[in-house]
Symmetry: C2
DNA sequence: GAATATTGTTTGCACATACAAATATCATTG
DNA sequence: CAATGATATTTGTATGTGCAAACAATATTC
């Protein structure tokens, strides 16, 4: 009797769960796990990882438009608007209307904290590389990005 | 004029973005892309993919507790509560309090639509396998799940 | 056996994200 | 040049998710 139970437990251990064989499940689990790291590092600036990336992009290309950001960051235009609003509230970027376009510029503060953001970014990479192994990370990242692009384009 | 535009598009293609080299970025991009497929298939039942998985789990193990679901689905207890509430509203599961535990059971309707859910699940797999290639999917899924587990445990 | 700690679950609050519709500007065509 | 179509951006609304705190019930310790 006991033996039967032991077998049952072994079967339902999470590593062999049916969900682990599901890309939809795994991809979201990974995203959540790694986002937790990102938010922890970027959270010191009161922003989340996508804000951080967006700020980098704006500092690099002052006057960038929401649609360009949408393309680069793989996020919906509406999401971009919301993120920009947040960064604007924090006085890290400002918006300028030019015709039907909106141009986004970094503020001085936005530019000045950018190096810290970049450093946090590096720390995030270090942290997950330490856990996963540097070479694995490179390969995995490439594969994952390729897959996301294929799915994004192919629908 | 037309030709110039074509060239410009080619230059700013996402595959050469610095973010593609970032696992945090790529993992989230993949999760969003694939969740879009999942929501499309499961959306016909008015639920999202995590509801679907949860319902499967509840049908398979009637009387399962939130903490067990939390473990299996890699989701926070509070998130589990919210998902259960939703499924309860839709009359697909019901809750029973037993001491400090909560036992979750499927309703008849919950049990009856479970096969359809499973079919939708298969369709999701088929759809992304078709885009990504079946063998790649297996390998990728395994790697991704392994990584998510490593990150989840190792923090 | 009462006080304290631990465990399981649920709320309050906040946030990233998306879809659909609204709005505003530009382009095109008759 | 007016009307219609296309494009860029923003809102309204909704949802999944998590953290921290509250709550409830069990376990432990003195």
């Amino acid at each position: 009797m006991k033996e039967e139970k032991t077998i049952a437990v072994a079967v339902e251990t999470p590593s062999t769960s049916r969900y682990s064989a599901c890309l939809l499940f795994s991809a979201n689990a990974l995203a959540r796990a790694i986002t937790a790291i990102g938010d922890e590092e970027f959270g010191r600036f009161g922003i989340c990882y996508s804000h951080a990336y967006m700020l980098c992009e704006v500092v690099d290309q002052p006057g960038i438009t929401p649609s360009e950001l949408s393309e680069t960051l793989c996020l919906t235009p509406s999401t971009i608007t919301r993120l920009v609003e947040k960064l604007e509230q924090k006085r890290l970027v400002r918006r300028e209307s030019e015709g039907k376009k909106t141009l986004i510029y970094p503020t001085e503060e936005g530019e000045s904290i950018q190096p810290e953001i970049a450093a946090a970014w590096d720390r995030v990479s270090e942290r997950y590389s330490q856990v996963l192994g540097e070479t694995d990370v490179c390969q995995l990242t490439q594969q994952i990005f390729k897959a996301s692009k294929a799915l994004g384009d192919g629908i």
